[in-house]
Symmetry: C2
Subunit: 577 residues, 2 copies
């Protein structure tokens, strides 16, 4: 039924047909994700809720904003994208997140947690200003509900004097189980719903902010969802409603129901060899260092396992903090613990570090505190697309005073950098991709601000590469060019800040080629351009040109956006001619 | 008594002596601020509370974090800085904010709202890890209480399993009167305190997060404050407490009590002529444009008047939103209203825009929405110091795809840019300083990405300047050099992004000098360096070197940090020799 289904057809279906539609969607999602990767458990839990939304509301006139957006697969299937669904997360195919550019059924692009309530309020406010009448819905998980943005939005609901429906999709999980007092509160509320199915004395907090509160005990019961949404839709004309819906993450697929964290996202391993993930190196190295250094503490924001810190958290529970999806708070906790002489490590994906920018500048760096940022999934991260690429971190970190930025060329060097960090008494950022694929022969001692020569050739070209992917490309290019008789040196720029000025000064007569896995503007190469702006020096930067990078494979995207061994080789050859 | 007072002396004082100390502090603050500028009303309201803190707690062993930090003057007076107090906010003198580098009584640097609860929790957690026993206190105003960070910290209190005292200094004001549902809730609570002076049924929200709640109706009553703090101090061994204290902003100075918003911060006008503040131009131009364009909406985060939008808000209340100190939420509101065809203007100080970095990238620019960021107090802002300088905005904006960045050379051009913005259908940032001091003769039409030639001279030097301050310096330098027979052209770089590539390409044979009021790294000049990295081109950048810029006068700081007409003249002259 899913193929080519229309909104009108959905509305004419019987309950039995709708239930069959749910099963078909569930099957389609499971088969597709197991084959291509993507978010699984979260989408399985959302099937009935989404079918009910499409049955009761009128999309795209009505608007639904999905918080984070990873749970929108059923919505995609029901809004004309079933035929293309097998292409999801692949280059040129459907995005794994809502995209306005992809469909008029996607009213707002999301990717990071907690933005949906603000977005729904803005859309509703605009509707009121324009004198229109449609309904606006935000669907938010209990994990996102920890984020401060939700409170900011709540606080302004009455002020904005508008009405929205907020569906709180409560499955008890962020990626890991949800933590925090708000979650404990939701658990109390969910027990109330179980017994009474209606608003009760505990829901005062939400009412205080202007929301009516209601609940559905089993959000995977389609009939109950349709009934409640129909009732709530009418109330939206005069009030805002929080509908607290209890769903089962992984619903309908026993393995997922039993392993919701492991099946939150499914990665399809490609054929390329991976020696070890950087996260694993972080986990075991930090655990080892912490044995003899009781100043070391680890802080995460709801991603402990994915960041490799599961073992550390088990081994050192008193020195471990997962604050939930509160990236800013996590950053300040690190800074403030450092004022008391502790040595905090904040592990985070590059894309989510963007949320702590102000706190990195003021709390960590202005106070010059020895916090280490462990920035995972740096560079192109691949299938999650625009909202998750880690290609901005060098750009938004490189100009911050007092911050040292290190980029390991492989996992072995990463381990050494972590050892180095333990005795480094100032703000430090270490950025690295997910997968460690190579270990290079040259392995010299880490000295702050000093680079490492990997290939010393007697020619005019010097490739300065930053990070494993870039170093790999640089060495491959140098080897290919050597075979053609063009001598190219390769330098591992372990530190993006400070630059190795002594080494750079020795290269004044050379032709420098920079390579990195970051945007050109503000990135490593641009720092070299600035360094030599007072000299008559020719430099060529390989980095990503101005533009958002969509989803796709890491290597194919790197190549398309201008960073590849072939591009370097071709450039140097053309320069020779 | 204040001069050279010690903590031990404070603790031995009688109530009468302490009251006299309060009066002396109040007098000292008033006289100093009226003479030198600074935060007045907020500090006058805090005198008794601060004296009581010093009487009851043991600083610096106990720690107090001041949210934002502008209300710490009495604390400075009581912690050995009375003798230097007359130097406050002046170059080389005391900072107007807490600074660890200034005194061991300042345990945490603040400047932006909402960070104090997280910082107090981190300090307390570190204390527990180290097995120490001191008390940790955060003092936060009701304005900051709107910020999402507070919620994130609350949510993790139980998780962190530590105890802190949170003093909610409730004077009903942010800078403007506080808005939002949390504020309404605090008003209900404060009425309860009035009648009962103890925790009551309304305080359930705070208890839900693990805080005991208590209150002091008149926080300017020293005896009541001392009594309550003494009692609370004992309770801190076993629990966290929110102490809700009602204070009077501007207390003890009738003019301030009656005009708390106008006297929040006192600016001392210097002798230099100001034609008009940019904020005034923003207000009247946006009001004019909104008359014929009902898509225009204005959004602020608790700074409406200072941003010049008081009139707009009065004239167009349905199209005006002040969300309180919620910079991220404000940014998403703009993006989401834009998805519905509205034309939002988010007016904000440069330093506070840092907090919306992730939302600018993802919500505004990834969706390519026509939101205009009106960035006030850009460049060095002066007396507030490190935490308030607007010197990073070009650096953190210039690499964001889809964003156009405009920088007016004077208030007249700013007005034209606002007219231009109304018909510009993509993300746009306009950055400007507070004061408009000059209006230049050349005033050409605004075309996206096109620069303007101000002085065309037949010589090898071209100064490309960005913004009023830089253009002023550039023209002064060119005129001085012309008098010495050195011909220098001057270009107004109205757009930092996109660059005027046609014009730049015509300058390949010239010696380019860039001038700006921003950090070198990532700033305007660095974009020029990157642009010409493939050419053998000599460029000289005048911008701020890597480092935090402390408080002081705008011109003296610009000069000290390397951006002055004299520096440009000297450089070009030395290059001639």
């Amino acid at each position: 039924m899913l193929e080519n289904i229309t909104q009108a057809q959905i509305k004419q279906m019987t309950l039995k047909e709708l239930l069959a539609l749910c099963e078909e969607a569930r099957e389609k999602i499971t088969q597709t994700v197991l084959k291509s990767g993507g978010h699984l458990s979260s989408n399985l839990g959302m099937v009935e809720l989404t079918v009910a939304l499409h049955y009761v509301f009128d999309f795209p006139e009505d608007k639904v904003v999905f918080d984070v957006g990873h749970q929108c697969y059923t919505h995609k299937l029901l809004s004309g994208r079933c035929g293309d669904f097998s292409t999801i997360r692949q280059k040129g195919g459907l995005s794994g997140f809502p995209k306005r550019a992809e469909s008029r059924f996607d009213c707002y692009d999301t990717g990071h947690a907690g933005t949906s309530v603000s977005a729904a309020l803005g859309i509703a406010k605009a509707r009121d200003i324009k004198g229109e009448k449609f309904s606006v819905i935000a669907v938010i998980g209990d994990g996102s509900f920890n984020n401060g943005l939700v409170y900011e939005a709540f606080n302004s609901l009455r002020l904005l004097n508008t009405n929205v429906l907020l569906i709180l999709n409560d499955n008890g999980m962020s990626i890991a189980p949800t933590v925090g007092s708000m979650h404990e509160y939701l658990e109390i509320l969910s027990e109330d719903i179980t017994h009474k199915q209606k608003k009760d004395k505990h829901a005062k907090i939400f009412e205080r902010f202007g929301f009516a509160y209601d609940g559905v005990y089993d959000g995977n019961n389609l009939e109950a969802m349709i009934e409640k949404l129909t009732e709530v839709k009418a109330r939206l004309k005069t009030q805002s409603v929080i509908l607290h819906v209890i769903t089962k993450k992984g619903k309908g697929y026993a393995f997922c129901e039993e392993n919701p964290e492991a099946t939150h996202g499914i990665s399809i391993k490609n054929s390329e060899e991976v020696k070890e993930e950087y996260s694993a190196v972080l986990g075991r190295t930090l655990s080892r260092l912490a044995k003899n250094d009781n100043r070391i503490v680890a802080v995460t924001a709801a991603m402990t396992s994915s960041l490799g810190l599961g073992g550390f958290f088990e081994q050192y529970p008193r020195r471990s903090v997962d604050v939930g999806i509160c990236e800013e708070h996590a950053t300040i906790l690190c800074a403030s613990m450092a004022t008391e002489g502790l040595k905090p490590y904040y592990a985070v994906y590059s894309t989510f570090l963007q949320r702590s920018f102000d706190e990195i500048v003021l709390d960590i760096c202005e106070q010059n505190l020895p916090v280490t940022l462990c920035i995972d999934r740096a560079g192109i991260s691949g299938a999650d697309g625009e909202t998750h690429q880690g290609v901005f971190d060098l750009s938004f970190l490189s100009f911050i005073p007092n911050l040292t930025i290190a980029v390991p060329k492989d996992i072995k060097e990463f381990e050494k950098m972590l050892e180095f960090s333990a005795n480094f008494n100032a703000p430090l950022a270490i950025r690295y991709p997910r997968e460690g694929k190579r270990i290079f022969e040259v392995q010299s001692e880490i000295v702050a601000g000093k680079w490492e020569k990997l290939i010393e050739a007697d020619g005019k070209y010097v490739i300065i590469a930053c990070g494993e992917r870039a170093v790999t490309l640089g060495i491959a290019a140098a080897e290919a060019l050597a075979a053609d008789g063009i001598a190219v040196s390769v330098i591992n720029a372990r530190f993006v800040k400070p630059l190795d000025s002594a080494l750079l000064d020795s290269l004044k007569e050379k032709f420098i080629i920079t390579v990195e896995d970051n945007m050109l503007l503000g990135g490593f190469g641009s720092l070299i351009d600035v360094y030599f702006s007072g000299d008559k020096k020719l430099i060529k930067n390989f980095a990503y040109a101005d533009g958002f990078i969509p989803h796709g494979g890491v290597t194919e995207l790197m190549t398309e956006f201008g960073v590849s061994g072939e591009a370097i080789v071709n450039y140097i050859k053309s320069n020779e001619n």
